[in-house]
Symmetry: C2
């Protein structure tokens, strides 16, 4: 039973999908049932990595969506519009959709899911998170018996590449970024990657699947790596940690027990550079790789690791989704009936907890006067604010560090650097403590403040 | 729509499954549709970790299989019989089956799959490999667009625990095994684990799914860790490797290109202690954890990591399978229709390649006379046999090592140990070279021979 595929976009991922469909030998036999019917491209004359029958190419994407020979629409054009509208039009036409578009799903996922549920079609998004790593389908189809406690991941390959090199070479962020851009690991405009927006898109998607309810993408506290200094990566390393850009969605512990409060789950969702103990399963994930750690009851910790981007891996995930839809079609079920696991409709309310109430460990680097007793005063100030400290270490401040502290205060060149790692503390209390410490005459500035696992 | 579940067995995994079904709150809402109808146990009077309505318990498993209120039969009793017969009886009664029984599936998988396909029911086995790690479903539902090149895994937690401790403590195999038995990480009869049989069961199952054809379980070359010496773990470590019990199923490279020879794929499948470079993704998997690395075109390398055993993780996987069947039932498809991905029927022939033709790197430890020129002679002998060497290192043989060499030959106490790591070489040629080296008057014995990645 041939199944017609329509492609919106023929960039690297689209070409990768077309290449798989054109060479079914040695893959699951269902791949051989998929027939590429129509492909929307901006410029049909452009040379491409994959050779396609030129009569398949059209410039108007509506011709793909409306083609009666197209059963499944694959959106790999990217961007918010016209991608969102085309996805909705395909749904309205009764066609299941496969998309790699994390930005659209993170922002309009609820609207799209509601339309798909109404029309009885699937919108599958395995390629939107983690490139080739199976993570969306396992969350939907293999972990549904669990109460999910935490999902944490390295979900942006560009920033992980930069952080891996900063750690290995002690290099500065700006230098590594420039090199990554030269090598094609970072975009000319790297904002979405380095400021954490891409990771926030992805954790919004993962949280929705893991907890069964949508959260507001724009409300996710997001901090990137673009202000991270090399010395903090180095100090973290000396203290037994590696710095990773983590995207985290966890149940807020102060909320009721996992069994209760079932209809409104409070989540602590966030993206920020994080110190991980070197023994943490995510600490060894280097370069452009991604990994997602899922913690649930009763499964414990399971981790999914692999290439987070690239034409081949992403196309693998897109075709996996197509195969899932194709496999279900073979059943001959009544039109409009949906497998609730694959459809992954929302089944409860989720809300973001006020971040002032969340609890974390913290790494703080202070620039201070180089005087006897400073460590004692800082320790006392944290203690007065009821913040317990795991370690406090004094380093000699170099000229570089003093320069980056905006030269405020007394004789920066002669200052000291003090790094504090706290035990877990409520964010509001920690901020209070930090305000009190900043007010000490010996403390020039808070040069860095990072979350710590 | 309530779905009736019948349990065969109420040991640790069965009790874990019952506990999930009894507490659906906070899990996927489909869990709430599952109703435990009947449970076969050996001794209904026995005290159990989970409290069940005693009227559900029966001692005759046929009463579970035949109960018309039971839609899905869950076999968690273990052992070959009566498990195999009960699975076949459930299939004959038109019921889908979920089982955690790797021994039955590795040996009778083909018979069981054929019966299930005939009757139009599913037999799902996520819990049979990797405990709670989603690996069976991702192989079936997320990686079908790939040509699989290699599946390699740490799939036995007991041996990984023993190897991790041998590496960390330099301890002897027998001592760590005894300790593992005391701590409950190893069975009183550890043969299936330490001799590699359990890992061979699991790689047989993974190979069938990854390559789409069954292989003969009994023909898998299998070597356990029961003759591994602590000094080899230590030397490997000094040379930059860790020793893991790997189960591997890879396409035989000398066979035709991935695209061709589609109907008969030659596989190199094996289980043996293996030296992994410390940077290998599987090298950091310690303790009772499992991990499976899948390499495919175009996905590249993806890895699945987590707890390889235990009541909770294994029950998580069993209930995942139940949910998959329950989800498909919601579609109202005609009876007997199967999703080809979930059913995972075989689609080509696979055969095991003659192991003499396979190619590997090797670690060899030789006990030799402590004379000038021995390294040269060994190097020359390998060279004459056209085996290239990556490294050759001489150690002083301790009294212990000499004793374990069965005291053959000249003044063992004064001997030397020479460790050779070869480049990749055909197994037959390597064995020839080893025979020539053993014949050298300076070489007392081949004390260890391990594969190396």
């Amino acid at each position: 039973m041939a199944i017609g595929i329509g492609l919106l976009g023929l960039g690297t991922v689209g070409a990768g999908v077309a290449a798989i469909l054109a060479s079914p030998e040695g893959r699951h036999p269902l791949v051989g049932e998929l027939v590429l019917r129509r492909v929307a491209v901006r410029d049909p004359a452009r040379a491409r990595a994959v050779s396609l029958d030129p009569t398949l190419l059209v410039t108007d994407p509506r011709l793909v969506v409306d083609d009666p020979a197209v059963d499944i629409v694959v959106e790999v054009m990217g961007g918010l519009e016209p991608a969102r509208s085309l996805i909705l039009q395909a749904i309205a036409a009764g066609k299941s959709v496969v998309t790699a578009n994390k930005a659209v799903i993170a922002r309009y996922g609820e609207e799209i899911a509601a339309a798909a549920a109404d029309r009885g079609v699937y919108v599958l998004i395995e390629a939107a998170v983690g490139g080739g790593i199976p993570i969306i389908e396992p969350l939907k189809q293999s972990l549904g018996s669990n109460r999910i406690l935490r999902v944490s991941g390295i979900v942006n390959g560009t920033t992980n590449y930069i952080l891996s090199r900063m750690a290995a070479e002690g290099a500065a962020y700006a230098d590594v970024l420039a090199d990554a851009q030269r090598l094609g690991y970072a975009e000319a405009d790297p904002a979405a990657d380095v400021q954490g927006g891409d990771a926030a898109d992805k954790i919004a998607i993962l949280a929705g699947l893991a907890y069964g309810g949508s959260i507001e993408r724009s409300a996710i506290p997001t901090e990137g790596i673009d202000r991270l200094e090399a010395r903090d990566v180095t100090y973290a390393n000396q203290l037994g940690y590696v710095v990773k850009l983590l995207a985290v969605a966890e149940r807020f512990e102060a909320s009721a027990s996992p069994e209760s409060a079932d209809n409104n789950v409070a989540l602590d969702v966030r993206v920020h550079p994080t110190l991980l103990p070197r023994s943490h399963p995510l600490a060894g994930v280097d370069g452009v790789n991604n990994a997602i750690l899922v913690e649930g009851d009763p499964v414990g910790q399971v981790m999914f690791f692999g290439p987070g981007a690239g034409a081949g891996p992403t196309a693998s995930a897109v075709v996996a989704d197509i195969l899932n839809i194709a496999g279900i079609r073979q059943l001959g079920a009544p039109a409009g009936a949906l497998d609730p696991l694959l459809a992954a409709s929302r089944w409860r309310q989720c809300s973001l907890v006020d971040s002032a109430r969340t609890r974390h460990r913290n790494y703080v680097r202070l620039l201070t006067r180089d005087e006897a007793g400073v460590i004692g005063k800082i320790g006392t100030a944290f203690g007065t604010a009821e913040v317990s400290i795991q370690s406090i270490v004094q380093y000699e401040a170099s000229a570089t560090a003093s320069a980056s502290s905006s030269g405020a205060g007394s004789g920066a060149g002669n200052g000291a650097e003090i790094v504090v790692i706290t035990h877990e503390v409520e964010e509001a209390r920690f901020r209070q403590a930090l305000a009190a410490i900043t007010a000490l005459p010996e403390v020039e500035t808070v040069a860095a403040c990072l979350r710590t696992l």
